[in-house]
């Protein structure tokens, strides 16, 4: 377990931006991402599909070479900036210092050579070893990864091995040159639950036996909780929250993290009749809102969430929790939000669509008991939905309310539209 030592982090990524150009439009994929990984630390990079997890890893490895791609920021790794290296310098580093494990070990291996041949090749590319020495090391590595009968397995082709064995061989290959950093992109997603447990066990042991740091990319919060020291939650290409895994799971500060954890069906305790799902879907990169990317789906949206993106991390101090969520005046932090208590408007009805900025309209709300009992919470009202159907399309309009206005059970609010409005559906 890494301790709070002042030693510089192994990898320090600052303001990483990746964008593609398509039909003259710049499509931001990853925006202003900053994080760092310490020696022997396992950092979990979590997010839904399309949130930019894999693109981040590929950018760090210098593996994105699509035309029109633009990578900026810097990634300091052992005194050099990974993003500024030439192809030749990067090749010397890749495999030796930074290695990668992919989700699908079947496609990551060449089907036409044996597993052993492929691991030998990587060893001999980076170290001056004879064929025999390389093979001895390969067999040794496979054995350490828990491959039964490693000498014979090394002579087999990828298709002859099971998924779990292939993944072990993949990890053996990645570790062959004793890399300081291992990037594992969804290493267990394609595996059975029981085999996944074996591989996670192996990953946890790596840092003590090999001294490697691991960047573990996954979408499974369970995998993160079991494996990672710290966690970075990505949403729509932007960092939502980062911190030690323990804190982040115990007290999620960003509404997205909280909602994500809440939407996982529990394995113990009473079965909820309905799961607290997050309405809607993550926005497409081109359709990201100008404000907080999560605002359209967030239960706690505040006026300040809309106009500008959340203040990005000025400098990421290690192990300090930094949710990228706007400060909300007079609102408790989301960890104190129990969703049921804070769903202020159960059934907003007669919600008109604002058609232009500067106009006004009135809204009528019916409030639930929790709100009726509270004081001064009007700022939290969310005239955000047009359709009342459960799971229906939710649309954030805007919010504006005066503290203490209106009565408790039914409230009429005059809405003043300011700033840019989201387009009507």
């Amino acid at each position: 377990m890494p301790t709070n030592t002042p030693s510089p982090p192994l990898l320090d990524v600052h303001d990483l931006c990746v964008s593609f150009t398509s039909r003259g439009q710049v499509i931001p994929i990853v925006e202003n991402l900053s994080f760092s990984i310490g020696e022997q630390e396992i950092l979990g990079l979590v997010g839904e599909s399309g949130s930019g997890k894999s693109v981040t890893a590929m950018a760090l490895m210098g593996l994105i070479d699509a035309p029109g791609v633009h990578v900026s920021g810097f990634a300091r790794f052992k005194g050099q900036d990974l993003l500024g290296l030439s192809g030749k310098q990067m090749r010397a580093l890749r495999g030796r210092e930074i290695a990668m494990i992919f989700q699908d070990p079947m496609t990551a291996f060449t089907p036409v050579y044996t597993i052993g041949w492929q691991i030998d090749e990587q060893l001999r590319a980076h170290q001056s070893l004879s064929r025999r020495q390389a093979r001895t090391r390969t067999v040794e590595l496979l054995g350490e990864m828990g491959v039964p009968d490693p000498a014979n397995t090394a002579n087999r082709y990828p298709h002859q091995l099971s998924g779990g064995l292939r993944q072990r061989a993949m990890i053996a290959m990645a570790l062959s040159c004793n890399p300081s950093l291992l990037i594992a992109d969804e290493p267990t997603t394609a595996l059975d639950v029981t085999v996944q447990a074996q591989i996670l066990d192996l990953m946890r042991r790596l840092r003590t036996t090999y001294g490697s740091s691991v960047l573990l990319i996954t979408h499974d919060m369970g995998v993160v909780a079991e494996t990672c020291d710290s966690t970075l939650v990505l949403y729509s290409g932007r960092a939502a929250e980062t911190g030690t895994t323990q804190d982040l799971f115990a007290h999620p500060q960003h509404p997205y993290t909280a909602a994500l954890l809440a939407s996982i069906p529990p394995m113990n305790g009473p079965r909820p009749t309905r799961l607290p799902a997050i309405p809607g879907a993550p926005p497409q990169p081109l359709e990201r809102p100008t404000g907080c990317a999560f605002a359209p789906r967030c239960t706690y949206t505040h006026a300040s969430c809309l106009p500008a993106p959340p203040p990005r991390f000025a400098r990421l101090a290690r192990r300090i929790r930094l949710p990228a969520c706007c400060p909300r005046k007079g609102i408790p932090s989301p960890s104190a939000f129990a969703p049921a208590q804070h769903l202020f408007c159960e059934k907003p009805h007669a919600v008109p669509f604002p058609h232009r900025a500067g106009g006004s309209s009135s809204l009528i709300f019916r409030c639930n008991a929790a709100f009726a009992g509270g004081k001064g919470c009007l700022q939290d009202l969310q005239p955000q939905t047009r359709a009342n159907t459960p799971g229906g399309r939710w649309r954030l309009l805007y919010r504006y309310a005066r503290r203490g206005a209106g009565s408790c059970r039914g409230i009429r609010l005059r809405q003043v539209h300011t700033g840019a409005l989201p387009a009507a559906a």
Partner: protein, 261 residues
């Protein structure tokens, strides 16, 4: 080569000819894992959903009229919480979760009694997965459906099912009420499975994972098919295959030495 019997609503359907089976299929429909591959990319949603109605007839043997079809489709869109405008659009215009809603709508077009859902949520992100699991639960309640819900995620299984059958290498090893099977598992495999699920709790007790991997179905192990990986294996397990035996009301296990609590 297959043997055995499939009985649906008191009728043996194992060897029925296609001609008789086809009208029966109105009552059993399926939802697949890959929401994109299961929708024809060249046809509009409305067209896709209307097809079962064009193929099948009403209970009194008449054809569905375009009017009734249109009406039914709108009803379905409401049922799965999609806008009516979706009927005019193509599958690629929807997100994974929305496409799965469309697949569910298509399975429900003919008001089936049984829906077989093969890993319907495993390709979805967690936040969207919760929406679809809720939808399945709502529909079950409002339409009185029976599901065969195939999944590998035990947490999802626990959320949605009344009874659970755990399969290993082609056979059911444990069968019973959800809470019994998942909280008091009797088969060593079920026990290992419940322990192996990564839980979103930091510092949760970890158990030693099962050794080895699922053997090839081509040459299954002798005796109990789990004996090669079983932590409590005994000599009898290697020679004699256990049968599914009742160990408690509504709880059956295929193991010589079930763990009883």
């Amino acid at each position: 080569m297959s043997a055995g019997q499939i009985v649906f609503d008191g009728q043996d359907i194992t060897r029925l000819p296609e001609r008789i089976l086809r009208p029966l299929r109105q009552q059993m429909q399926m939802v697949f894992q890959d929401s994109y591959a299961s929708l024809n990319p060249r046809r509009r949603i409305g067209d896709l959903l209307a097809e079962p109605l064009r193929v099948h007839r009403t209970p009194d043997g008449r054809k569905h009229t375009p009017m009734t079809i249109a009406h039914r489709l709108e009803e379905l869109m409401e049922l799965v919480s999609l806008p009516r405008a979706a009927l005019e659009r193509y599958p690629h215009e929807f997100s994974g979760g929305q496409r799965q809603r469309i697949n569910i709508a298509r399975a429900l077009v003919l008001s089936p009694r049984l829906v077989v859902a093969d890993e319907p949520v495993s390709a979805l992100d967690v936040s969207v997965q919760a929406q679809i699991v809720n939808l399945f639960a709502d529909l079950q309640k409002s339409l009185g459906l029976t599901y065969v819900f195939i999944a590998h995620d035990l947490a999802v299984v626990r959320q949605i099912s009344t009874r659970v059958a755990v399969m290993y290498l082609g056979a059911i090893v444990e069968l019973g009420e959800t809470d019994t099977v998942l909280h008091n598992p009797a088969h060593p495999y079920t026990i290992a499975l419940t322990q192996a699920v990564p839980r979103p709790i930091v510092g949760a007790a970890r158990h030693a994972p099962l050794r080895g991997e699922i053997p090839s179905p081509v040459n299954k192990p002798s005796g109990c098919r789990f004996h090669t990986r079983c932590p409590a294996v005994q000599t009898r397990c290697q020679n004699e295959a256990p049968t599914l035996t009742q160990i408690a009301p509504n709880h059956r296990v295929a193991c010589h030495y079930p763990v009883l609590k």
